[in-house]
Symmetry: C2
């Protein structure tokens, strides 16, 4: 291969680093890839760090120590996070989304890859410090945002099922109070899915009273896993007191007009 110019090296490194967020790459990997000296690569990294910062694309960090190197985090600054979340709020507040019974149709929006990638980066930005080992969600609608959060954190996702499946092996089943507490439901998690002593970040799409999230927290206790945080995309304003403390939500359902079928959904206070 011809010698790769700095121009080209920077573009290739940008792709490699941003494709695997939160993973540490040693300088040696890049030295070998480009046949360049460590000092040259250090200069490249400095240029990348500056430009990533300048264009609000996240953070490129140098990690020291034996397992040291450089890692990219798609850290979303407050102002940009607000823009991303506001965009989602406007989509969800569009007329005709409120269904009989006061439910909001969100399935289409929750499965849009680019939007959910943005949300995943916003959520991950809040939890890099908590160093979760995996992202936990309950099937089904929260899977895309949970997956994109896991992607941004560089960790696996784990899905809690509504019932145990033959292809998941031995499982732990627990009961939890759903919705207003009127129904007792079951959730199931394969015994192989997580290990004792790990740290879980719980991510879900929607929270009314918090029963499902509370169930996931209880499930983690059964596995001796620490909950590093609980984050939902959308929470209702009422009931104000959820079944769980310390929940972060990106969006809040401020009010609902069943008659004309629209909900007022806005970015949560902490984003403003």
């Amino acid at each position: 291969m011809d010698r790769v110019k700095r121009n080209e090296r920077l573009a290739v490194m940008m792709r490699i680093l941003t494709e695997s967020p939160n993973r540490i790459f040693t300088l040696g990997v890049f030295c070998e890839m480009f046949g360049a000296a460590k000092s040259t690569m250090s200069e490249d990294i400095d240029i990348l760090r500056k430009v990533i910062d300048q264009f609000s694309m996240g953070q490129l960090e140098t990690v020291t120590g034996a397992a040291g190197g450089v890692r990219y985090r798609p850290f979303v600054p407050q102002e940009k996070a607000y823009q991303y979340v506001k965009q989602l709020a406007d989509l969800l507040s569009s007329p005709g989304r409120v269904l009989p019974g006061g439910f909001i149709y969100m399935a289409d929006i929750l499965a849009m890859p680019d939007l959910m990638q943005n949300m995943g980066m916003v959520i991950a930005s809040q939890y890099y410090k908590s160093e979760p080992d995996f992202v936990l969600t309950m099937e089904t609608k929260g899977i895309p945002v949970a997956l994109m959060t896991a992607k941004a954190l560089g960790v696996p996702m784990v899905i809690v099922r509504r019932d145990s499946k033959v292809y998941e092996g031995p499982a732990v089943n627990i009961n939890y109070l759903s919705g207003s507490g009127a129904r007792v439901e079951t959730m199931s998690l394969s015994k192989r899915a997580v290990s004792e002593g790990q740290r879980a970040l719980i991510v879900d799409d929607f929270m009314r009273a918090g029963g499902t999230a509370r169930g996931m927290v209880d499930m983690m206790k059964e596995f001796s896993v620490t909950v590093a945080g609980v984050c939902v995309l959308v929470a209702t304003k009422t009931p104000e007191r959820k079944r769980l403390d310390g929940i972060r939500s990106l969006l809040v359902v401020e009010s609902m007009d069943e008659l004309n079928g629209s909900a007022q959904i806005a970015p949560a206070n902490w984003l403003q």
Copy 2:
């Protein structure tokens, strides 16, 4: 802002283009972003195209016409696709994954973001020409690979549910033959989810007899949607005759040893 150097422009453009695969960006967008002339941007694009090709990172294409511009596709060349799929095959073939009844535990691997992103790019590479409008999958385990395929294609994902939900509004329900044909099951899709005349790419995680995929094809008929392709991650070798023709699978279960709990899973012939 200071004038942005070519070095830096190339890195930023690489990030923007690869973050939104298959989306067309006009040169004007970049001219404005960097305060540079069109001729300069054209040179930048030429350098990026060359380096993306040289490092087998996909394709940067110039699209002519009124809605023209430049778009990045994470097209995976055959050799690299084989490597990605082989890596997955080895993981799935590791001992202890075969459960009683001959089921294979795959839930952990199917929810790994980086692996599923690679699979999504491999699948998308096969279907850019088919120009699907969305990726259809059936809950639950196939959602990550379907989402990553949709991401690489730059289209939304649509999830078929096992039963109709209050928060999905009016829905079409159909019955289908599951597994060996012994059971009749139901699938449900919200009437708002897709529109007449669209093109669907069906993506799922596992296929034995093809009943679920066949059900999704039948569902698309109900919506007057054309099926642009059917692709599954893993298919069993038997029954050789599936309930549906024209299915592509990335991996094939060659054989299974229930006694020592391991399956032999290999990349499909077309990848070799």
